[in-house]
């Protein structure tokens, strides 16, 4: 028994060391660190900002209609005289929530399908991969539009739609990884001493596929944020929520572009670009760390 505990402790130590090493390598990478700092900034704005800055989209506003930035309204006002700066602050949370939740759903579906296809193989693999191919072929934004129009537009459904349509890339990647792991000697050994399939997947395959899944989650998050933005811009977003995409839709529909009211849409777009960039930077540096092919070059 004490022997088993010792092994467990050793395993824990190794994991801790690996994790520390990973964190160290990550923060040695300038791009990754920059991305992390940017992301933290957005998290603080999303969760602390609203306590210090008051904004309500339904309140009657004191601002002039479609006025350029002034001292009271540093990002100007929209076509109803509402404060644009406030909408940006309050919309940060929406983007983060949609990004993370959408990514988690898509990663969960993608990993499950990828693992089953890669590890079980045979007929199941064929069927699952054909379906994945079929899904990949469908133009993503069009698919999201159709499904969201059928489900109805509120923020929960938008998250669901993004998750349900965004899993194909993850499924392929995880499958490839599982396929290569399946042939490794230690898996064969586990099988020969009678480990069940579920046990092998859970104990041996999953931990080794996890880095890929983790890196993929980061990328899926930025893609989910962009999807919500496009959807809202096209007028298929949740009209009751404050989001950056909703601001952009307001700007477009109310003719801010043709009168040159740049302040109505430039801040929201810039915020989206910066947030997506923060995830891209983090994902990029993960890739540098986790992809052994890149490390040597």
């Amino acid at each position: 028994m004490s022997n088993l505990n010792k092994i467990r402790r050793e395993k824990y130590e190794v994991r801790k060391r690996n994790f520390k090493q990973f964190i160290k390598t990550f923060f040695n990478n300038k791009i990754g660190t920059l991305g992390f700092i940017m992301l933290m900034f957005f998290v603080v704005v999303a969760y602390v900002g609203p306590n210090f800055y008051h904004y309500s989209p339904v309140e009657v506003s004191k601002g002039a209609l479609l006025a350029p930035p002034t001292e009271g309204f540093i990002f100007g006002t929209d076509h109803l005289g509402r404060d644009i700066f406030g909408a940006i602050i309050y919309g940060t949370k929406t983007s983060l929530i949609v990004g993370f939740s959408g990514a988690l759903i898509s990663i969960f579906i993608g990993s499950t399908i990828g693992l089953s296809a890669g590890f079980v193989g045979g007929g199941l693999d064929n069927v699952l991969m054909r379906i994945t191919d079929g899904m990949m072929v469908l133009p993503k934004l069009a698919l999201i539009m159709v499904v969201s129009a059928v489900l109805g537009t509120n923020i929960r459904n938008i998250i669901l739609v993004i998750g349900l349509t965004g899993w194909t890339g993850t499924a392929r990647l995880v499958r490839a990884q599982a396929l290569s792991l399946r042939e490794r000697p230690y898996i064969e050994r586990a099988r020969s001493i009678g480990a069940s399939k579920f046990y092998i997947v859970y104990k041996h395959i999953l931990p080794n596929v996890f880095p890929v899944i983790f890196a993929q989650t980061i990328l899926a998050t930025s893609s989910a944020i962009l999807s919500e933005t496009s959807l809202s811009f096209l007028g298929l977003g949740d009209p009751l929520s404050v989001s950056w995409g909703q601001v952009l839709n307001g700007a477009f529909v109310n003719g801010a572009v043709s009168v040159g009211a740049w302040w109505y849409f430039v801040p929201a777009g810039a915020a989206i670009v910066l947030m997506v960039l923060s995830f891209t930077f983090i994902g990029y540096s993960f890739d540098e760390i986790l992809n052994p092919k890149l490390r040597g070059r």
Binding site: G134, L141, V146, L151, V257, G269, V273
Partner: protein, 322 residues
């Protein structure tokens, strides 16, 4: 010509098409809010709705509906559009060339510049130019296409007054010579092409770069270097032809991405293409039109992938003689 490979690809494409059709069928009929609900919302006369239901075989059990649907699809019969009161195929046919012009121009620009800049980045790996190009590509990926279009309109359309703000031609432009017409359309094309082109340009740079870097690690590059060839010569003659192979696949698979970009770009510039048509159909609950344009764009992607596989067969001798 490797017939076995060719047939395999044909069968694969057919299977994919079947799966796309099936997924579309499920999407449009089994999920809540079936087509009849859309009829009611679109305010169509109940008797017409009843007739359409019959035409589509919507009164039949679901598995029979599926076969009726497949039969119609393979005959190229997508039904009639509610809002246009014309066959879906005709409505799409009128709009498709506009999207193709836009996508083709954007694609050509993006591929050309993508290859050049990707090569520059890979050849100077780790240097300032590489980091700069990489950062620029990541930056482009983060920009929503429609937002970039809005910014361009304000700068070049409103402030500088160089190009028209939206549309495909100047309203009321009739009875003019072909040359004037082409000039007018070209002027309207500039911003949308630039918007869509930039949206896809970044991924080409990244893929060209990583593809070249992969090739650089191959033994034959070392051999060439050992022989004392000039660096540029090695890149051009040894690395580039091999690095181009993955690009063919990427160009084909990017068609789906272009459709997404085109929906955004066309909406911003009110370009009368498939993207705006799809959005229109969605808002009007024009169910046959939406389904038709959805399937047509998916077919375009399958076809592009199939063609890429065939092109691959010709340019990669490893497949030809397998």
């Amino acid at each position: 010509m490797n017939y076995k490979y060719f047939m395999k690809k044909v069968v694969q494409s057919l299977i994919t098409i079947m799966i796309v059709l099936t997924l579309t069928f499920i999407l449009f009929r089994v999920m809540p809010g079936d087509p009849t609900a859309m009829f009611v919302k679109s305010g169509i006369d109940p008797s017409v709705a009843e007739k359409v239901k019959e035409d589509y075989g919507l009164n039949l059990p679901i598995y029979q509906q599926y076969f009726v649907y497949l039969k119609n699809m393979f005959r190229g019969d997508f039904g009639d559009s509610f809002s246009f009161r014309k066959p879906v195929m005709k409505v799409i046919g009128d709009r498709l060339p506009n999207t193709i012009i836009l996508a083709l121009c954007a694609q050509t620009l993006a591929i050309g510049f993508g290859i050049i800049f990707g090569m520059m980045a890979a050849a100077n790996r780790g240097k300032k130019i590489d980091v700069g190009l990489l950062g620029f590509s990541l930056f482009i990926y983060a920009i929503p296409a429609f937002w970039f279009g809005m910014v361009l309109i304000v700068i070049f359309g409103v402030k500088l007054d160089l190009v028209p703000l939206f549309g495909m031609m100047t309203p009321g432009l009739r009875n003019v010579t072909k040359l004037v017409y082409i000039k007018d359309v070209a002027k309207h094309l500039i911003l949308p092409v630039f918007t869509l082109g930039l949206a896809i340009f970044g991924s080409y740079v990244m893929i060209m770069r990583s593809s070249l870097l992969d090739v650089f690690t191959e033994d034959y590059i070392n051999t060439a270097r050992a022989k004392g060839f000039d660096r540029r010569y090695i890149i051009r003659k040894h690395a580039l032809p091999n690095a181009m192979l993955p690009m063919v696949t990427v160009i084909a698979t990017s068609i789906g991405f272009i459709v997404s970009g085109a929906i955004q770009t066309e909406t911003v510039f009110t370009w009368p293409g498939i993207g705006t048509l799809m959005l229109k159909a969605l808002v009007a609950r024009d169910y046959p039109l939406l389904q038709g344009s959805f399937i047509i764009t998916s077919f375009a992607v399958v076809t592009a992938n199939f063609l890429a596989d065939i092109v691959y067969m010709y340019i990669d001798p490893r497949i030809k003689y397998e």
